[in-house]
Amino acid sequence: DQQVKQNSPSLSVQEGRISILNCDYTNSMFDYFLWYKKYPAEGPTFLISISSIKDKNEDGRFTVFLNKSAKHLSLHIVPSQPGDSAVYFCAASGRGNNRLAFGKGNQVVVIP
């Protein structure tokens, strides 16, 4: 059972434009959410996180939005840069521990 879902497996965007990645979750016990970026042959790199007490968290070019009622979160990258080309994973944890449930990932390609 996939508790964290990322649809639209791939996304192409022009350099300088906004990239928007979406993530849905089914487990209402999740209350901490993270985004990781992964390059080939490397481990996932932490990007940004948000707890369920917030609806928005911003860090430089990256902003994560959380809609708890819809069990939906999104990652906005603006402006997109060629170095952002990677696979992005949405992850969630809850119930007093930090074991992560991951989505399948979104491939982002930023076109120069």
């Binding site: 964290v4 990322q6 209350d31 901490y32 993270l34 990781y36 042959a41 490397e42 481990g43 996932p44 790199t45 932490f46 996180s49 707890s51 994973f89 992850a91 944890s93 809850g94 119930r95 007093g96 521990n97 930090n98 074991r99 992560l100 449930a101 991951f102 989505g103 399948k104 990932g105």
Partner: protein, 114 residues
């Protein structure tokens, strides 16, 4: 400071063999978790260790086992390897094991079972 390190980077085994993967956490981190990532999927939680004790286990068979040492490094063992065990095995460390404690991942060990 060094990040999470894992060894070996690549490994090729045959069905039925046993394998041991190693992980060293970020200095000061007491929690280590293991994940399995098969092609086209996100990482899947296998184990979490904190202060040398198992604190969580994912939906994996008993062929998978792990331990954590006094220096907080960890080993993942897989016995009686199956073709389906071919995957990238990721280790992550965090300061603690509680909610909101960010996990930082190593580069992974690529295991191929023939």
């Amino acid at each position: 400071d060094a990040g999470v390190t894992q060894s070996p980077t690549h490994l090729i085994k045959t069905r039925g063999q046993q394998v041991t993967l190693r992980c060293s956490p970020i200095s000061g981190h007491k929690s280590v978790s293991w994940y399995q990532q098969v092609l086209g999927q996100g990482p899947q939680f296998i184990f979490q260790y904190y202060e040398k004790e198992e604190r969580g286990r994912g939906n994996f068979p008993d062929r998978f086992s792990a331990r954590q040492f006094p220096n907080y490094s960890s080993e993942l063992n897989v016995n009686a390897l199956l073709l389906g065990d071919s995957a990238l095995y990721l280790c992550a460390s965090s300061l603690d094991r509680g909610l909101g404690d960010t996990q930082y991942f190593g580069p992974g060990t690529r295991l191929t079972v023939l």
